[in-house]
Amino acid sequence: MEDIAKDTLIRASQGDVQAFEEVYKASSSFVYNVALRVVNNREDALEVAQEVFMIIYHKLKTFRFESSFKTWAYRITANHAINFAKKHSRAKTVPYEDAFGEGAVANEFEAKIDQEHHSRLVESLLAELNPDQRACVVLRDIQGLSYEEIARALNININTVRSRLKRSREKLLSLKKTIQEAGRS
């Protein structure tokens, strides 16, 4: 997320729509992409991102400027996306066989994969994780946040971040093994 000048945040907190648009421009890529990966669907991600910005717009009035806007926005985004994903858990739209199964070569990731196939792969892998694990993986592996930043965003301790990441990765490893074995037999 890009840095936002304090002056801009103050004006936005007073209801200045133009200043709020600047806040939006600096943070919309983060908010939308986190939402997209946690809810794992474009339409839902748009809904979540819209809600997140309305929350930011309203709560900016009571935002204490000593704390970091980024951390605060990370938290609102992650919480909102996780809650949405938990409430609206959908059937998996992409069968995970597409990711590793028929037609997928053993060292798929070594091969040059076209973008469409890759985004289907990402969707199907994320669909294997629960929303809490998904949020950790998205914040760490896609957004590049540190364990400490993730812990603050999700309001959990660092050990929980660590164990959620570990479990997610174990899940993916065992998923690949299962599919490869099924492919061989």
Partner: protein
Amino acid sequence: MKKCGHFKDLILADYIDGELDKNSTRGLESHLLDCSDCRAFLKEVKDNAARPWKQTPRQPVPEELWGAIKQRIEHENETAGPFADFMDKLKGFIVFPRMVPVFASLMLMFFAGSIALNTIQVQQTQAKDQGEYLVSLLGPAASSVQAEDNDLGTPIEHYFL
């Protein structure tokens, strides 16, 4: 090797995330030189659990998002209008902490005032009664109007007349 489980744990999270401290990193890396099993595990984790995400491109934010947000804000501002602004200010005034003692003392003054006023009214009422009593003592001449209305048959008049 006996410590492989411990090292694999580190590989799965802290090591590939760059969160492992220098000492532990040195320990793990010297183990990796000796242990082909852990080396294979590291490669597997990197290829299959970390790499798919690293190649994930950021999706561009759909343009309709800002439009939808702006519309909602404008709609809220229209429906809120000056009345809601006034209510907000009023609420702010009422709950404003420094106003509480002021409000409390105003209330106290009001009650104290009304009690004092009541006392005065009671005294005035009593005074009025006493005045009528005196008038009646002075007889029909002093209370010309009253005298016409009152017949002479009241016990007090009987007593004085």
